[in-house]
Amino acid sequence: MSPSTSLRASPSTRLRASPSARLRARRFEFLIEWALFLCALLSIGTTAGILVVLAVETFAFLREVPITDFLFGTEWTPLFATPRFGVLPLVMGTVLVSAIAMVVALPAGLLSAIYLSEYANPRVRRVIKPVLEILAGVPTVVYGYFALLFVTPVLQRVVPGLAGFNALGPGIVMGIMILPLVSSLSEDAMQGVPRGLREGSFALGATRMQTSLRVVLPAAFSGITAAFILAASRAIGETMIVAIAAGQQPRLTWNPLVPIETMTAYIVQVSLGDTPQGTLEYRTIFAVGMLLFLGTFGLNLVSAWLRGRYREEYA
């Protein structure tokens, strides 16, 4: 048989499948696409689920506690005989610990990123980046142990009046925990800055430091800001470090040396007890959770928007 006839013969036998078989094949493709789509849709379902679960219990909670009392009250004593439901002490505890974490993580993370992006040679980067990844992958309960039984005792030797449970120790450890996030996202942003900008700066006689701080940093500014905001959101939502090492005393204070309680630690505290469903106490954790969700979700949206903007600049 000549090659030309065989070429003509094989596709015709293949494609001349019966119409019903082709229809079945097309229906199968259609079904697959829908099944895949439904799996993707589950993520929207997750967000909706979070919102519904939190909203239902929060509304039930707000029917008994006026929203102004909840948002602006300065006393949080839901487990007392005369309960008060002012969430501000929990919010303040959360902000305090997160602020300490950011004070540690921002400068250190940014400097690490500058070193990795602008100074280090590829071989050093290949060694250091996986180690930073490990730092990011350590379970938070381990960091909690570290904060309570190592960092706080060490700090107590230096800082007079530091309580066994406090905001300072867990704040510092939380800073170490989010440092890799700040560093790797900032480094990505700096790597996105075109080489030409650096070369122009070097050509004008600038040193590496001048180039890093005055050319690369401003050019990567929105990306780096996005990294900072995402890190703040992580700090606010972090649970185990503060549940273990910060104490369980909701307190309206900026003093980092005394025990406090964060929103997340409160949810853990209530979850550990056997709280019956439908009680006001059970609903408080959803109301606090709603506040936490809205806060972090807002920060995440801002961060994503900034990242998108920065991508456009150099696209």
Binding site: L54, Y143, F146, I176, T239, F297
Partner: protein
């Protein structure tokens, strides 16, 4: 002037290096601290005993089996759904509005605090679907938690598959699904598995969501089915850290060492897969 600028540059470089070194050193100090506290407690008896009121008799068998069991169920739930969702977003609906929305949503979900997933699990799985405080409820909660991570990493792996492979398959008359199933997925598999292992290693260290759904802190038996109550290693560690007695804290340190070894094994497997994969594609 030039000498002054050069000197400043050197100072800055050293400063940045010192900061980076301090960050890495903190990891070393953490591991050393835990090792010093807990290494002496590690023994076969510790691994195979059940919890006890007497710290020197307590062990982690129930928590270790609980962790492994919960993670396996989590993987069974999250892996197929995550890969399917990633395939849809990467290969099918790349331009549709729905796909864009889902994408933004997944990026946001990946940054939602894990304790919020715990509240979702408590309201949805434990109460509404009446699963109780079972392995199934815990694994479902963790599955939702790791899904965004799995979807994001699977998409990366799919994107790394050269389009020539798809085009060659289409040219031979294969349908879209045949192309994905027989050509794209086998090539992307190591990358997908790497992402999966990393996502699960995050889940195995999670404590807060499981405490929130009410996983027990004191269980005197290994889980024996999907409906069994359970505890996991991080919760057992948390339980021991929270006690004032030094002996229990020693137990916590030993538990942490076991957890870290578990994580290290999973990460090593992921890195090994990634290296093999990179060599093959290159």
């Amino acid at each position: 002037m030039t000498a002054w600028r050069r000197a400043l540059d050197v100072v800055f470089r050293v400063l940045a290096l010192v900061v980076l070194f301090l960050a890495l050193a903190s990891l070393a100090v953490l591991i050393y601290d835990v090792w010093r506290d807990g290494a002496g407690r590690l023994s076969w008896q510790f691994l195979t005993s059940f919890p006890s009121r007497r710290p020197e008799e307590a062990g982690i068998w129930h928590a270790l089996t609980g962790s492994v069991f919960v993670i396996l169920v989590t993987a069974a739930l999250a892996a197929p759904i995550g890969v399917a969702a990633a395939i849809y977003l990467e290969e099918y609906g790349t331009r549709s509005v729905a796909a864009r929305l889902i994408e933004i949503n997944i990026t946001n979900l990946a940054a939602v605090p894990s304790i919020i997933y715990g509240l979702l699990g408590l309201g949805l799985f434990v109460r509404a679907l009446a699963m109780g405080r079972s392995v199934l409820a815990g694994a479902s909660t963790l599955a939702l938690l790791v899904l965004p991570v799995i979807i994001l990493s699977t998409r990366e792996a799919l994107r790394a598959v050269p389009s020539s492979i798809r085009e060659g398959s289409y040219a031979l008359g294969a349908t879209k699904w045949q192309t994905i199933w027989y050509q794209v997925l086998p090539v992307a598999l190591p990358g997908i598995l790497t992402g999966m292992i990393l996502a699960l290693s995050r889940a195995i260290g999670e404590t807060a969501p499981l405490i929130t759904i009410g996983a027990l802190t004191f269980v005197a038996f290994a889980p024996d089915g999907l409906w069994s109550p359970f505890t996991v290693l991080p919760i057992q560690i948390f339980n021991w850290v929270s006690r004032p007695q030094v002996e229990f804290r020693t137990n916590a340190a030993a538990g942490i060492l076991v957890l870290l070894v578990l994580l290290l094994t999973m990460n090593a497997a992921a890195i090994w897969l990634r290296d093999r994969y990179q060599k093959k594609l290159a």
